[in-house]
Symmetry: C2
Subunit: 431 residues, 2 copies
């Protein structure tokens, strides 16, 4: 399938594509070694049920910046590859190891976000076409009965209350064999789903109330080191450096020295790497809530001064994340420029890769137009235009150049799977 434009893949606006082309060439040339390595890794560390990974491609570096184990956004994928998701879902359920016919998806509770509800409708329909009976079982306390919400796409989301019945959860008289979380449990594990006897994936221990980005990226560091050794490259080309602080209170200005020291050290480390590879960009870092998602509690800084001089509004923004969770731990991550742009306005485009089990099933670009980024600067879950990958990520063609769409998407699929593998090891560590 093609989109209606002549140029369905974002352009690079930087001349610094040499290292990227080299990396992509190395990945293409070593494809069977890479896949062999992945196969051996999945035998040791089974992949999570599903995941999405946000990437940044600066031309000198391709790196994951966030790994979501409760992915939304399935509505942004290219429907031409639905079959790939359907087949992968069948495999993922098969890997649960027990018969499954009925599935309840437990969604996020923000029922007014139509984009999210479109995601739910697509995920439900993919699972149905994979041959399962599926219901959406909401945790929302005010939802008392089944509610059908019509959606702009023409689909609808049929939300019903999830109810507890002994050691099982049900939706009406629908008794699932398997409960699939599409809720990242930012506020902890609800009593409703605690200790249920049904299979429950991903494990609630992987919810954001328990998970730390810094832990994930520690695992990623190990994965990136091994993968870089396989290719004989500097792991920095695929790994964002980071530091973390464990006891921050933005409002009370506690933990400020840890933050300042780490920002300074990280900026120095980036400067050093930029010099090593002649990168002509100004180093910056991202400061993020260590537990959290939805782009809340996030800021960028090009200097230590920027984290010293936080005004009250910035402090407030940094101090809470989704569902009012307080931020006390932060990760300071190497900022990776986005040098892919899209359209006449040169909107910034960031790739997101989707995986089901260990299969890459597609992805899309978050295209941030100027308008939406300025209007929604402080908004949680900022507005973006999705641009589905026009090709899937598992059909590389070594006969074409490393920057051919098929091959660039293959590279994205490889980096996405490295983050997936980090999450798999992370899951094992808490199991």
């Amino acid at each position: 399938m093609s989109t209606s434009t002549d140029s369905p893949v974002p352009h690079f606006t930087t001349a610094l594509t040499g290292p990227l082309l080299l990396l992509e060439r190395q990945i293409l040339d070593r494809q069977s070694a890479i896949e062999s390595w992945f196969r051996s890794q999945w035998r040791r560390s089974p992949a999570p049920f599903y995941a999405s990974v946000d990437l940044r491609n600066s031309g000198y570096k391709v790196a994951p910046v966030d790994t979501n184990l409760f992915p939304a956004g399935f509505n942004n994928l290219n429907p031409a590859f639905d079959a790939l998701s359907i087949q992968a879902l069948q495999q993922a359920v098969e890997h649960l190891g027990a018969p499954v016919d009925r599935i309840v998806i437990v969604p996020e509770s923000h029922t007014r976000n139509l984009f999210y509800l479109e995601n739910l409708a697509v995920l439900q329909r993919l699972l149905e076409r994979a041959g399962f009976a599926v219901r959406l079982g909401s945790l929302l306390p005010e939802l008392k009965e089944e509610t059908v919400i019509p959606l702009p796409s023409g689909a609808s989301a049929r939300l019903a209350p999830l109810v507890r019945n002994g050691r099982r959860v049900m939706v009406g008289d629908f008794d699932p064999d398997f409960v699939l979380l599409n809720n990242d449990l930012s506020s902890g594990t609800p009593a409703l789903i605690e200790d249920i006897e049904q299979m429950l994936r991903p494990a609630p221990k992987l919810g954001w109330a328990n998970r730390l980005k810094s832990v994930h990226f520690s695992f990623y560091q190990g994965v990136a080191r091994e993968f870089a050794a396989l290719l004989g490259i500097d792991p920095w080309f695929i790994d964002p450096m980071f530091r973390n602080c464990g006891a921050i209170d933005f409002m009370k200005r506690e933990g400020q020295s840890c933050l300042e020291r780490n920002v300074e050290e990280l900026l120095e480390a980036i400067t050093h790497k930029y010099a090593e590879y002649s990168v002509q960009c100004r180093p910056f870092v991202m400061v993020k809530a260590d537990a959290g998602t939805y782009g809340m509690g996030v800021m960028s800084a090009h200097s230590v001064a920027e984290v010293v001089e936080l005004n009250r509004k910035q402090r407030t923004k940094m101090s809470t994340t989704k569902e009012g969770q307080k931020v006390s731990k932060v990760i300071i991550q190497e900022g990776v420029y986005t040098h892919e742009t899209w359209g006449e306005g040169n909107a910034v485009a960031e790739p997101v890769v989707y995986m089901i089990d260990h299969n890459v099933v597609g992805g899309f670009y978050r295209v941030h137009t100027e308008r939406s980024s300025s209007e929604n600067l402080n908004a949680p879950g900022m507005r973006f235009e999705p641009l589905a990958f026009e090709e899937c990520c598992i059909t590389p063609d070594p006969a074409q150049g490393p920057d051919a769409h098929l091959n660039r998407f293959y590279t994205y699929g490889v980096i996405g799977r490295l983050a997936l593998l980090a999450a798999a090891r992370e899951s094992q560590s808490v199991a």
Copy 2:
């Protein structure tokens, strides 16, 4: 992906589509029950590595007429769904249960058939893109060194001699972990691959030297009965009736009475069924070599007289099959009209469904311009135009009519998998 014509799916030329639409509707309505049933079946009887199934669709009946466990024709599938095959191949290899990085495909030995060589090139490339190192290891005794055969598509087939090294087979110094047969072993298992320590699939016991169509269709009968019970339909709608004879010599006219009696009884049984369902067609049977492929040793008969009055040429044609194998056993199968046609000349079109592991990955129509709807389209030297299925077979849409392309292909995928399941049980019975 669409083909260049407005009407990419063959037309029905019969008014007898009522029973078919009913069957397709029932299959759509019971999709999750059907998929649940398949899941439980694959847990008991693992699917063969790959298979293709020839179907006939008469409008009153959709039935498999041949199941090939060494499928060629991968070059006829829609390249838009390569990713589906790639993902399914990864899964099929994973199900072998031991690490595999290097694969040798053992092809048929007819190296001058460019269509077949295109199939090999596509199969090899799919496996390579799935992340394996792949070589073609030929059994052809006269092939002494690696030979690269350029193909009309622009691809090429790189054939090299398969050599024995102790209890292993190799291609040059390429030592595979897994040997994939794409050769149906019509002449028996070559000594070269006997008792090798490498994994070998499909099992040589499933080669045509050991396999009988009548055994396969006995297993299919059982599968069709169970599936029909699930849907509450007459199994006849999906099952071609058959008889078989064990000691025929067409040249010496031995076994003639068995053949005549079975043709007569089968024609009577078909007449009975046609009356029951008001089918306004003339019953016919197909007489085929019970062991064999490639449409050799095949004839159709509308009356007993036609098998009594075989002339010398017909007897010769019936008496041998591929690689000069003598026919002594025959299967007499209910003839199922092909009422799908294609193009302005109303060429007859018969669907072929492809499966890898238990996944349906696509299919194509064999479109033949000169034969009638009751003749076998897979005749020796027969030229057909392949017409790839424009959609894949695993994305049904209950909101559309049962004859919508997505849904018709889903039905074909279901019937194809019923034959696959029969082959899975057949494999277990010889294991």
